[in-house]
Amino acid sequence: MVTGSPTTAPTPLEEELARIAGAVLDPELPVLTLAELGVLRGVHVHGPGRVEVELTPTYTGCPAVEAMSTDIENALHDHGIPDVSVVTVLSPAWSTDDISEEGRRKLAEFGIAPPRPQGPAGGPIPLTLAIRCPHCGSTDTELLSRFSSTACKALRRCAACREPFDHFKEL
């Protein structure tokens, strides 16, 4: 969890508010919190009752950002912060490597094959791991479409249990 501005360590209040904002659920993947998705970039207290939250989108055009912003505002309002502004930051770009281990486990449990780890850009070329069916666990799966219910997912089918499933694409 990243809190505070890059130059100063987060205060205990900022850490507490970051926990509250980070516990908000993703509107499209309601089993994941924003902290587990890795989209919460920072919480800054700019004055009494005045807080700025930095959020990064998974995809530039992700329509869930507006719902996330509203949900964060409501969560912090409920915590007694009247003035909440949520700003979108693009840099550094979000990567599926920002999804936490717990987040990956929950995705699989929800029936979505989690993204494979990519490692640092420019590093050694990772092995291409098979994508495992979240229903039966078979690695014998095939790509049906590069884009599925949302831009961040691909549609696959398991050759073992014949069930189609979504795969969170590496980004």
Binding site: P57, Y59, T60, G61, C62, P63, V87, T88, V89, L90, S91, P92, A93, W94, S95, L144, S145, R146, F147, S148, S149, T150, A151, L155, K169, L171
Partner: protein, 248 residues
């Protein structure tokens, strides 16, 4: 809608002309791809084209917001004020035309964003994010080019016709963009190498004609557009113009 986005250290763009051109490219192609909704050949493609359009729309919103009010720019400008290249405004045609347009444009956009991401212009932040999205668009277009080109006699004929028809609009992509320090000649060589390789694998012929040409092609950046663009804009803008300030 309003977007409040920070793209990195620079809040306001110092390259408004180039930012507007790239924003218009993304906006216009998003609108064209959106026209497939309800009419794509198969459900998976319907979803794929809509998702690609959504990525482009997101990029357009960020870019246009760097220049001014995104809604005013999208809905209240006249045709001659748009700075998109003529390639993206070309009608969808049959599915092969849409794929050829996607192949030519996504190959260019990936080269462009990769360079911008490595630079220090105000667009670097967006480019670093968008280049990863566009990699999937290019992959999608290349796979379809292979399937159609190396498919049936009919699909091969149509894919070749589409590649030929859009070829004349590809030269404009490599006109220098005002204020951006890009080696457009190197980009053009890389683009030609990439497209030539894909067409070769797809058993298609690299079109023989010029890549810029007649009076009509190659002037979108100066506000000169092809005939069908006005009709596309009318459809895109009419709701906003009919109900100014409406919201739900």
């Amino acid at each position: 809608m309003t977007a409040r986005t920070t793209t990195g250290d620079a809040g306001a763009t110092t390259v408004p002309a180039a930012t507007l051109a790239l924003g218009d490219d993304a906006l216009v192609l998003a609108q064209r791809l959106g026209e497939w909704a309800g009419g794509a050949p198969v459900l998976e493609e319907e979803v794929a084209l809509a998702n690609i359009a959504l990525d482009l729309l997101g990029q357009a919103r960020v870019l246009l917001s760097l220049v001014g009010d995104e809604d005013e720019l999208a809905y209240l400008r006249e045709e001659r004020a748009f700075r998109n290249c003529q390639l993206v405004e070309q009608p969808n045609g049959d599915f092969a035309h849409t794929i050829a347009r996607q192949l030519y444009f996504s190959t260019y956009q990936h080269l462009l964003y990769r360079r911008l991401a490595a630079g220090d212009s105000p667009l670097a932040g967006l480019a670093a994010k968008a280049v990863k999205e566009v990699a999937y668009h290019q992959d999608h277009a290349e796979h379809w080019t292979l399937r159609l080109g190396d498919g049936t006699e009919e699909s091969h004929r149509r894919m070749q016709a589409a590649c030929d028809a859009l070829w004349r609009y590809t030269g404009e992509l490599f006109q220098p963009l005002d204020g951006l320090d890009l080696d457009t000649e190197a980009m053009e060589r890389a683009w030609l190498d990439s497209v030539t390789a894909v067409l070769g694998r797809a058993t298609l012929t690299v079109p023989p004609g010029p890549r810029t040409g007649a009076w009509s092609a190659g002037a979108g950046r100066q506000g000169l557009h092809t005939e069908s663009f006005g009709r596309m804009l009318a459809e895109m803008q009419h709701l906003h113009r009919s109900h100014p300030g409406a919201s739900w």
